[in-house]
Amino acid sequence: MKLNNSPLMKASWLFIGALFLVFMFVPLGKMLMLSFNVADGLGLSHYVDIISSNDFRQVMLNSFFVAIVSAMSATFLAFILAYTVHWTNLPKGFKQTIKLASLFPMLLPTVTYGFAIIYTFGKQGLLTKMMGFQLFEDIYGFYGMWLGYTIYTLPIAFLLLNNTFQYLDKKFVIVSELMGDSRLRQIDMTVIRPLIGTFAAAIIQCFFLAFTDFGIPASIGGQYKVIATELYTQILGASPSFEKGSVVALFMLIPSVLSILLLWYVARFNVRYDSVEHFDLPTSKVKDRILGVLSSGILISLLFVFAVIFIIPWIKTWPYEMAFSTDTFTKVIESLNLMRVYKNSLIVATLTAVFGTIITYVAALIYERSGLFKIGKLTIESSALVTNTVPGMVIGIAYLMVFSGSSISNTIFIIVISNIIHYFSTPYLMSKNALSKMNLGWETTASLLGDSWLQSLRRIVVPNSIFTLIEVASYFFISAMVSISAVIFISGAKTMVLTTKIVELQHFARFDEIFILSLMVLLTNITALIFFAVVRYLYTRSINGTTKIKVKKPTVTTVA
């Protein structure tokens, strides 16, 4: 039984509804209006201009091509890693390392990868210096972006595949073995087929992320123009036009909407087993070793790209004065402006985590555990879906158009709101998932025992979703720390955050400082993760002795 609507529930619904209306639908609507704005009223001429331009068609083609290629390579590499984790008898520690290392890129902003790639693979890059020749030529443009997007989207593909692998039933391998299937057929039947839905989901998700990312093309795109750089140029380039920018932004929405629809469609291919047994498979040592080497190779290459971030800041002038020096580091630490920027980043990430968690949790509560009227629930659910389709850049641009000159422009507040709206979908689904798995009878039992709904919420529901809450908060925190696409348009001089400062430093080619800021982002994120782990540990210890109700790991991952 679900509970009656308390006035508080309605008030929360109203609050969240208003939030979406003011900070998403109105800005998007304004953007749509602007796209029709022509000199003498309304018209389609901006659309016609842009669609008929060869340049723009090329930009769209480039974007599609590089995003699809990267999505496929990321998914393929992630598959090897996930397969190694679940289908081999390699040591537990090794598997744990794979899980952690493959998520590492999520802790850094994408703009950092671009610069890291330049200083690793460039003519004077670290790797080039070590090997004595350049591994890839032409890192500026397609190849650099391919590499960057692959690194960027690999964690997401891994999360999705790793999650599905947990639910694959290994009994079928034994059955297949007994039936005398060939190796190929065995892999096809027991692994590939059950994973088809997840493969599709991973590719679509990675495509979406690559297609809408701004950091990588901004740092290493060169002449290979993609829609994100085109959008930026239209809005804040040498001769800006909000109207044309709106049209380009709407074009960016099309693939986003399509990918969400596709994700919906492929969800039906997810295989469900009644029960899953976890045991180690009889597997050959040779196969294990090959996979071990392959996975290590992937991870080492992945992590090597980031090595320069740790090295360059300590060198006098790369690559001509290779002496150790702490000058850059001291300069950055002493610079008041950068410390202010760091403080802003921390405030933004903390506020995003706190309010983001509360808002998404309340939204999920309304949907899953209240008797709110149908339309009420539907509005929340569909708003969440819309946030999923709107890329960060589009949100940022829409905010710039609507709130420029208003009292909230250039405030921390608008950055926090844009982060919450931008990243709303995943945490909402995580919370919803956790809440839906709890027995609906709890509140009823509690009310029979004389507890009010709020009391049962406090005593039962919240404590049982505490792990999800921690996960949501850490997702919001890290996303806010690395986010760039939305903030680049709305952060002001007083509200600069680390990522936007990195883009600014690029104008001066101050790579050593860029890498120091990246390190600050990284260390902050790691500290945050440790903090959340400690909270989790303390909580687990405090409930030790009572029966813990196990909440399944959420099956959803990120859409940034």
Binding site: K123, A238, K494, F508
Partner: protein
């Protein structure tokens, strides 16, 4: 205290606090002056030193942008811009004022050699040059170019880095060289196209992009800011420069104060005056182009073939030249 009340109260308070935190409270005198600038790092340093010496330390925030980006912000945001004061390419200041009057008349007099409108005062003038990485030139066995036109030679395919005028006015300095000397018709266009294609993947949106690539050894040749090459050569790095035989064109950057009506920060005008009167000697050392009467430049820094583009520089002319650069 029940949970929801806590949540909702906390939420509302938090939103209010965060919302009001960085808003102006009407009294602008105590506020920091926000300076938006497209100036290079070294110019920013000079300006900050002057402001700090005058006792303004901690009373301003310097925010840097690429020229294209700051130009975009000026044109798009007008008076709504966050900045109280800008230092920016003069032609952009003029175009922004024409589109949407947003600058205050200066409260002090500056008398530059070339007359300017009353809402801005030039603070520096800079020029471009062909930059070389001498080590890479040797390694690749390339002839040293002497003119802008030389860069169209197919021998320099993928060996040069250029600035796209879409992103930075440094790129425009180069386009002026070609446009003034060879015209924007067939001959000039052919040269321009060849150079752009030679640059290929090394076409940069940022003015310091080519220098960055030449310094990192990614390409042996680039077109960038002359004074930066001078400075790096002096440091003993394998960097050299060539003044193109077509001449060195110049652009000026100026300071202007945003007119925010009653909200105009009074300190902004004082700082603008300081920059014009006190920062010039330091800036002249870095950018050895004379802007005001009575200034002198050391012989070795003098540019022999300094030129001025025959037409007035405007954002519209830049648009034409950007199209010319891209062969459109």
């Amino acid at each position: 205290m029940n949970l929801f009340k806590t949540i909702i109260t906390g939420l509302t308070c938090g939103v209010l606090v965060a919302g009001c935190g960085s808003q102006s409270s009407g009294d602008t005198a105590g506020e920091e002056v926000i300076i938006y600038s497209n100036a290079d790092e070294e110019a920013v340093e000079v300006i900050q030193e002057v402001l700090d010496e005058a006792g303004f330390e901690g009373q301003y925030i310097f925010q840097s942008f690429g020229t294209g980006e700051l130009g975009g912000r000026l044109l798009a945001e007008g008076k709504n811009i966050e900045a109280d004061m800008v230092t920016m390419s003069s032609f952009y200041i003029e175009s922004a004022q024409a589109k949407n009057p947003m600058f205050k008349a200066l409260a002090f007099t500056a008398n530059p050699q070339i007359a300017t409108p009353n809402y801005y005062a030039p603070i520096l003038s800079f020029t471009g040059a062909i930059l070389l990485n001498t080590k890479e030139m040797e390694a690749n066995n390339l002839p040293v170019p002497t003119s802008a036109k030389d860069l169209a030679n197919p021998i320099y395919k993928n060996q040069i880095s250029m600035v796209d005028p879409n992103g930075s006015s440094t790129g425009w300095l180069f386009v002026q060289d070609i446009a003034a000397e060879y015209g924007t018709d067939a001959e000039g266009q052919q040269i321009m196209n060849a150079i752009r294609e030679n640059a290929g993947p090394n076409l940069e949106l940022s003015g310091s992009g080519p220098l960055k690539k030449v310094m990192a050894g990614e390409v042996p040749i680039g077109f960038g800011l002359r004074h930066q090459a001078v400075a790096n050569k002096a440091k003993g790095l394998p960097i050299d420069f060539v003044d193109p035989s077509e001449g060195n064109y110049t652009l000026t950057e100026s300071v202007a104060v945003i007119d925010k009506g009653e909200k105009t920060n009074p300190k902004a005008m004082k700082m603008a005056e300081l920059i014009v009167t006190k920062a010039r000697p330091g800036l002249l050392e870095i950018y050895p182009n004379i802007v005001y009467d009575g200034e002198t430049v050391a012989a070795e820094n003098q540019i022999d073939n300094s030129k001025t583009y025959p037409e007035p520089l405007t954002a519209e002319l830049l648009d034409e030249h950007r199209a010319f650069f891209h062969g459109e």
